[in-house]
Symmetry: C2
Subunit: 196 residues, 2 copies
């Protein structure tokens, strides 16, 4: 792909990412994306066939970024409490940013719930599964029994905390979710100690 073509393509994807992040999917048109990329719709269509294809590329790029971040993440928690605190403190900090709309992947899945075949679903599923595995690996390293099951429970709590934050705009929901995660992991550790 010639360099200038690739730059235009990237400019479109960057503009689309910002628009989708702030407004979701349905309220962004191809015209909006073209305008934000300062190109004509005609030029945009030379790069992408549809808004769906743009969304797919944007989500894939976000997933790749998150995957790279999770692989190079230098923060390793010393205890399950540290791990839970880091995870839920991130949600509190993130949700305090202006016009926060929760997880972008979750938002798209919710917005496109009546189109289960939309490619956004498969990418979101892959993305969330990756995050779950990342937590499971940390729990394993901390000698938590049933790390995969516990990681899944912690992710369900994290998703619930983010949605509850959007509903109530009250960090108490995130704190109480973190408390629940810590209790569940504490039980598990005690159980493991008893049986080992």
């Amino acid at each position: 792909m010639p360099r200038s073509r690739e730059l235009t393509r990237q400019r479109i994807l960057d503009a689309a990412y910002l628009l989708f992040r702030s407004r979701g999917y349905a309220r962004v048109s191809i015209g909006d994306i073209a305008a934000a990329s300062t190109i004509t719709k005609r030029t945009l269509y030379r790069h992408f066939d549809s808004k769906d294809v743009i969304l797919e590329e944007v989500l894939k790029a976000q997933h790749r970024l998150a995957l790279a971040a999770s692989r190079t993440l230098s923060h390793f928690s010393d205890s399950t409490d540290d791990l839970v605190d880091a995870l839920f403190a991130d949600i509190v900090a993130w949700s305090a940013t202006p016009r926060w709309a929760g997880s972008g992947f979750t938002r798209l899945v919710v917005e496109l719930a009546d189109f289960p075949g939309h490619p956004a679903h498969a990418i979101a599923r892959k993305h969330k599964a990756m995050l779950e595995v990342h937590v499971a690996n940390q729990l394993k390293r901390l000698n938590v029994a049933s790390p995969a099951e516990r990681a899944r429970q912690i992710w369900v709590l994290a998703e619930g905390a983010m949605v509850s934050m959007l509903i109530h705009r009250d960090p108490a929901y995130v704190e109480i979710a973190a408390d629940a995660a810590k209790e569940l992991l504490l039980r598990e550790r005690r159980y493991k100690r008893r049986t080992s």
Copy 2:
């Protein structure tokens, strides 16, 4: 209000409810609502000033229905496990219906996240708080310590389970959330027994 006027108004709200439930908010236009109510847009505007006002009325009606249902609910659980099973089994059964899009209130909050002043948020907040109080009352009756805090944790798990169901379309996420809820309540009961 004359009877015929009230009937038309109700027909508009019923049609809007079905459209919002299947497509969310952004992808439904005033024209769609008028067409589904088999009236003209001109007639519709004699009843409602905007799509926002219609949404507000639809949500208020849904909240009133849920409130009435929670007050007359005859099912009282005999144990915390029963209560959790009933709650999460409802999510599994509900999510198996075609084109299920999760909680309608949650979906609107997520879709309108970048409009925090939209009236939908206040109604959703009220609705979710009511559901939380309903669970807290049952936990209190079952002698669970800290019923308000535990009810909140259970609701965070329920919201997380619904979102995870939308992402993964796999009931294992709901089951693992129910297991977490039971464990948290079991701890609490034991704690109470020890200290009482």
